[in-house]
């Protein structure tokens, strides 16, 4: 098994992104909470940014993983044939 590193990165960032964006959305307009961050809903923004990054990573990781997996199976089928020759 060979794991493409972009898959776990994509998974982690998407999940954390969803958590943060959902929390940011739920607390939107809570002036007391966001007075610290100068009125900026930093949770929603960083959540959305992380979600986009995570989905992108996941997409490219899965594409690379798919490309990586089939040739390995083909190789295994070819090997015994080569051995017979």
């Amino acid at each position: 098994m060979k794991l493409d590193v972009r898959l776990p990165i994509g998974l982690l960032f998407s999940t954390l992104g969803v958590i943060l964006a959902a929390f940011g959305g739920a607390t939107n307009g809570n002036a007391a909470l966001y007075s610290r961050s100068l009125g900026f809903n930093v949770n929603e923004w960083s959540g959305v940014a992380m979600l986009v990054f995570g989905l992108g990573m996941f997409h490219f990781g899965r594409r690379a993983q798919r490309r990586l997996t089939p040739p390995v199976e083909v190789d295994r089928k070819r090997h015994p044939a080569r051995g017979k020759r």
Partner: protein, 613 residues
């Protein structure tokens, strides 16, 4: 009716959402280790990630492991104390060395087929030199891993993350230190011993992105809060904003570093000692899938490293530029006619601090500690944590804490894998010759656990030392500087003999220790910080003292190694074929060549330096 609301400033309220983020991240990192356990069976897979990783993964892992908790906390502290000058440690203090290591050293290390740097020393020289370099390296790993754990505790205590939990459990405040460092060390040890170097490197790449995601919001909001770059300019002393200001003379700058110390000590000996001979960083490049990838990894790592000061040093500068908090009382009339006293209580230490950076306080009385002239001594290590607590609401604060944990774990995991590989390959396997591959993996896993336990012990040593980056610098000057001397000599001069290298290594390390024992920084006390033999020379700063210690170690190691080599006959056992660099065919197109990439990174460094000169 009169109400009273007391708000303690700078005490973040960690809520469930913060803990959810932190715990999810921790579970995830362990999960990666567990998943990779199934593909980690042979010793090559455990210690070298099967030598199968592409260059970009190795490069990102390399830059990630170079930012541990000491850099996360310490670079913020240096940003507060010295401003942009601290960026020297990222610019001239690492980029040229990384490019040199990539272009010229990596092909030799990778091509030799050695699995560790002491292993390469054994190939070029002999077994006894290999053993000495391995033991020196193991010692260095334990001490610097302890510094990483200590840095995490500093952050945990200044953010008061665990105080409430401990009070609820009825545990003493003193117990925070052992609990925090043991939990962190064992957690990292667990995923490293499961998945080996692959788990460590995969998590390092992940941790690099977590570090950026966690720090970027606080830097952006902090910069807005201080009024942008222009606002920072008006609130900080001029020298804080110029990377090169006053650096041509020792007394012209607040770091107390002179041009010789900077150019030779930092720009050559210590930086090349770290990026070019320290197996801690090179282990990732040596796990690359080909000699070309190994060559590219440090060059790829150099590019993000160039921009790290914006994430690590800038927070410290912003923290010290902000207004100092004071205890205030606002009396307002509520909507129902009641009088509300809004009292914002600020501790004495915070009030005597500068900006958000509090003064160092006496742990028993809580009173700020002052120096001889009555000025409060700043606790600069708190700069970045305090900035995070000041600007981030719950949620984003959890993410920033995760970034801190990610920094700690990436650095710590690298220490454990490097310790385990060097111990197993260069010490254990040489004593127990003929041990089976399975047996070596088992020993490697135990070594990871041993490294974690020893690191917990050495965290107590770091507790007594104080400034963690300076302690790291001192350790580098003792171990890396003489290693660099004998490796460079061995590569460039065929007549270097094993006896010469062996003596040079020992004399160099001894010279660094002796230098430390005989010199002291101005205002320092003899003891842990130097001068423990007698004080023959005083340096303007401890940074300069250790940079010069590194130069001394390098020069002594070089001269002694050359002299002894000339005196002893050339060693006929060296096989020159094994130490010739593997250049390979290499890509023909100029834009794919490692040299072109290195040149571009170098240009980017020069441009950035000119912009902030």
């Amino acid at each position: 009716m009169e109400g009273c609301r007391c708000l303690e400033l700078c005490l973040p309220n960690l809520t469930h959402i913060d803990w959810l983020i932190v715990l999810f991240y921790l579970a995830f990192v362990l999960g990666v280790g567990l998943l990779l356990k199934f593909s980690t069976k042979t010793s090559s897979e455990f210690f070298q990630a099967g030598r199968s990783l592409p260059a970009w993964i190795c490069g990102l892992a390399m830059v990630s492991l170079s930012v541990g908790a000491p850099e996360f906390i310490g670079m913020g502290a240096w940003g507060a104390r010295f401003g942009l000058q601290a960026a020297q440690f990222f610019g001239i203090g690492s980029i040229p060395a990384m490019l040199f290591a990539g272009l010229y050293l990596m092909p030799r290390y990778y091509g030799s087929g050695a699995s560790t740097i002491p292993g390469y020393v054994g190939m070029r020289f002999d077994e006894k030199t290999r053993r000495v370099s391995a033991w020196l390296f193991l010692l260095m790993m334990i001490f610097s891993a302890g510094i990483g754990l200590y840095a995490l505790d500093r952050a945990a205590e200044s953010l008061q993350i665990l105080d409430r939990t401990f009070i609820q459990l009825g545990w003493s405040h003193q117990a925070i230190f052992p609990v925090v460092i043991s939990l962190a060390a064992l957690l990292v040890a667990l995923y490293v011993l499961l998945g080996g170097l692959t788990a460590s490197i995969y998590n390092q790449v992940l941790q690099f992105f977590v570090l950026v995601a966690g720090l970027l919001p606080v830097v952006l909001i902090g910069l807005k809060g201080v009024g942008g770059w222009e606002g920072l300019k008006t609130k900080l002393p001029g020298a804080h904003l110029h990377e090169w200001s006053g650096l041509l003379h020792v007394h012209g700058n607040s770091m107390g570093v002179g041009f010789v110390g900077l150019a030779i000590g930092l720009g050559f000996v210590l930086s090349l000692g770290f990026w070019g001979t320290d197996f801690l960083v090179l282990q990732t490049a040596m796990a690359a899938d080909s000699a070309e990838s190994g060559q590219r990894a440090p060059i790829i790592a150099a590019l993000p490293r160039l921009f790290l000061p914006f994430l690590l040093i800038l927070p410290g500068m912003i923290a010290i530029a902000l207004p100092t908090p004071h205890t205030t009382t606002n009396i307002s009339v509520g909507p129902d006619g009641s009088i509300v006293h809004n009292i914002q209580v600020v501790s004495a230490a915070a009030e005597h601090g500068k900006g958000l950076v509090p003064a160092r306080s006496n742990p028993n009385t809580g009173e700020p500690i002052t120096n001889a002239s009555g000025e409060a001594i700043l606790d600069a290590d708190q700069a970045t944590p305090q900035l995070m607590a000041h600007f981030l609401p719950t949620g984003a604060l959890g993410l920033a804490l995760t970034a801190l944990l990610a920094a700690l774990m990436s650095g710590l995991a690298a220490h454990f894998t490097a310790f385990s590989a060097v111990f197993t390959r260069d010490v254990y396997a040489q004593v127990c010759k003929g041990a089976s591959d399975e047996h070596l993996v088992k020993v490697g896993r135990i070594a990871v656990l041993v490294a974690a336990l020893l690191a917990i012990g050495s965290a107590y040593a770091a507790l007594h030392f104080g400034d963690m980056l300076i302690e790291l610098e001192l350790i580098f000057s003792v171990v890396n500087a003489p290693m660099l001397a004998i490796l460079l000599l061995g590569m460039s001069w065929k007549r270097t003999t094993s006896t010469g290298a062996f003596t040079g290594l020992l004399v160099g390390a001894a010279a660094a220790l002796l230098h430390h024992g005989l010199t002291l920084a101005t205002g320092g006390q003899a003891g842990l910080h130097g001068g423990w033999l007698s004080v023959l020379h005083q340096y303007p700063s401890e940074i300069e003292q250790n940079l010069c210690g590194g130069i001394a170690a390098f020069v002594f190691a070089l001269i002694i190694a050359m002299a002894v080599s000339v005196a002893t006959a050339s060693n006929p056992e060296i096989e020159p074929a094994r130490i010739v660099p593997v250049s390979g065919a290499g890509p023909v197109q100029w834009w794919k060549r490692a040299e072109t990439w290195a040149l571009l990174v170098l240009l980017a460094m020069i441009v950035l330096n000119l912009c902030f000169a």
